[in-house]
Amino acid sequence: MTDIPATALEPELAPKPTAEERWRALRTVSRGDVIYRSLLTVLALLLPLLVVLIAVELVSNAMPAVSKFGFGFLTHSTWDPVQGQFGALPLIFGTLYSSLVALVIAVPLALACAIFLTEFAPRWLRTPVGTLIELLAAVPSVIYGLWGIFVLIPLLRDHVWKVARHALGWLPIFGGVFYGPSVLAAGVILSIMILPYIAAVSREVLLAVPPSQREAGLALGATRWETVTTVILPYGRAGIVGAVILGLGRALGETMAVTMVIGNRHEVSASLLQPGYTIAAAIANEFSEAVSDMHLSALFMVGAVLFVITILVNTLARVLVWRVARGSAVGSTAI
């Protein structure tokens, strides 16, 4: 240290770089930076490339079915591997219907959880309850399926429906004889499975609402509940929409738990009590023993349809989040 001439440490003694020199120094990139940057670029581009490859693979394997059935594939209801006739309407309908049922049940519950945990629960209760809800996400889906078969279906059929039939039996969405495996059972299972995702993300969103907003609401004379409904929820709406879409994406693709309780029937029925089928379940069920090439191709095609549905849902989510986020809302960047 002592060897260094004192002058070297005096910046004002060194010749001052001109603006041009400084600019050049900033622009010069060392070789290490170039390598590092290109490495990262390649790695980053691998992911979108993967998506493209999946799409290409799906579409190319689906081509025989596409050329044979065309658009009718989406509108016909017959799924007959023996005759080689394939129509995916029941699968598409069942996928969307069971996910919708799941959202209808899960969203209010998940929001209630999130609001309770951030606004009303005593501090000591927040972490344990929050952790327990998140633990639901760690349960393997086959366990949910087993629970559905052995607990939920008998419960719905032998107890809940025995009572509810008198009040709701006239509604077309509760028509027909209820044997147990049904869109309703699948929807309930799915709602439990997606609840932790929606609840956890919504909680983070609500936590991110600045305390000043809360205080302003209370200062204006609102009750705590009014503060939640008029200030906090609107403030976090973009993030909450994102949380719901995240749950929906999970519900659309869930396979194992659904196939165990939905009854696996290629049929379009508005009644929640009737069996249905979903795209993911059909692929999992039929892929390994699909003997004819057309059957296999039809399964690829229905997989491509699911791919498109999830892309549409995600795009819709982006647009929704973007539109509601044009106010000053939090959480939009987190999704």
Binding site: V82, I153, T259, N285, E289, V291
Partner: protein
């Protein structure tokens, strides 16, 4: 100390040498296909490897469809399927395939009617009627006529079937196709079909559960599954008019009945459902190994054929412990001829007087 190290080293060196010499001769064979016979195939592979450590066989139960595809693409040394290849699929491999039956399976109707403990009797017609959705009540006259003493209730029949593609479904629908023209025309046979009615359960456990948990339900499961899980099942009338309870013996009888009148040059793509014979259970089927008629690697070919020979001879003794029905002697005899006719470069792989390893 140094002595001990030297001893350890020499033992280690010996092991390495030994391992090296074994590795040099090891033959690895790959097979893939049907899941129904997977437990017995894995037992065979294990037992054979213990007896002949130089042969390593890897069997993957990826499903019959996958087995046929991989066999066609030559990515495996042998395939396996619960349903025979179609003419078009055989065309795709230029006819270069032998279907060799290995074991037999059968399918039984199982039901859950509150208050009924008697073993029910079914005919092919009635089973087809139920799965077509034409017989919808348990006290339908066609059922009560067969079971006058069972006291069948006025209850809806809930039909269960497999939702996953399956050899079990193939056997069951093959039988219904034979006994019911209506079924043949409206549904047909296959590993998955367009079911007119019913709930789909995944695998034998899925169907068994729907039956167990739903009052008034009827389903079909593999005999093996019913035996291992202690599930009661109905008796079915065979072609000779007798009501037969499914068992390993009556299943083997079905094969014996079907092959008694068989052309010695059969390609074994035969269905043994609804077979002739007094003590034949009618919903039975072979499961097949798929082998090429002409192979290219002499060492592999020899190892594979020796294994299959062993499987259909000595290997059959493991069948009953795993609840598979063994092949009748006549089928084994015919298979010996097929195995001996497989060639590498035009030369038979097994000598004509081959009697097993």
């Amino acid at each position: 100390m140094t002595k001990r190290i030297a001893a350890v080293l020499s033992v280690a060196a010996g092991t390495v040498l030994l391992a090296g010499s074994v590795a040099a001769q090891t033959v690895r064979l790959n097979g893939a296909g049907a899941t129904f016979p997977q437990p017995i195939y894995q037992k065979w592979v294990l037992e054979y490897h213990n007896a002949h450590p130089t042969v390593e066989i890897n069997y993957q139960g990826i499903g019959s469809g996958g087995g046929i595809r991989q066999f066609t693409d030559h990515t495996v040394d042998f395939g396996a399927s619960d349903g025979p290849m179609t003419d078009a699929q055989i065309q795709a491999v230029n006819g270069d395939v032998y279907h060799l039956p290995t074991v037999l399976g059968s399918v039984v109707p199982t039901y859950n009617i509150p208050g009924v403990t008697a073993q029910l009797r079914f005919t092919g017609d009635v089973l087809a009627g139920i799965w077509l959705g034409q017989i919808t009540k348990w006290n339908d006259s066609r059922l009560t006529a067969l079971n006058p003493d069972a006291n069948l209730p006025d209850q809806d029949i809930v039909v269960a079937h497999r939702s996953d593609g399956s050899g079990t479904t193939y056997i069951f629908t093959d039988y219904l196709t034979k006994v019911s023209p209506d079924w043949a025309q409206r549904v047909g046979k296959g590993t998955s079909v367009n079911w007119p009615v019913g709930l789909g359960g995944q695998g034998n456990p899925g169907v068994a559960n729907i039956v167990k948990q739903t009052p008034g339900a009827i389903g079909y499961v593999e005999l093996i599954y019913a035996i291992q899980n202690n599930i009661g099942y109905g008796v079915v009338r065979n072609k000779a008019g007798n009501y037969i309870q499914a068992s390993l013996e009556t299943t083997t009888n079905a094969a014996a009945g079907a092959v008694a009148s068989l052309d010695p040059n059969t390609d074994f793509r035969i269905s043994i459902t609804d077979a002739d014979g007094a003590q034949v259970y009618p919903i039975s089927s072979f499961t097949w190994l798929l082998l090429p008629k002409q192979m290219t690697d002499a060492v592999k070919a020899r190892a594979l054929l020796e294994f299959v020979w062993w499987a259909v001879h000595d290997g059959e003794k493991f069948t009953s412990a795993l609840a598979y029905a063994p092949l009748p002697a006549r089928v084994v005899q015919l298979e010996e001829q097929r195995l001996k006719s497989i060639t590498v470069n035009g030369q038979p792989v097994l000598p004509s007087n081959y009697r097993g390893r």
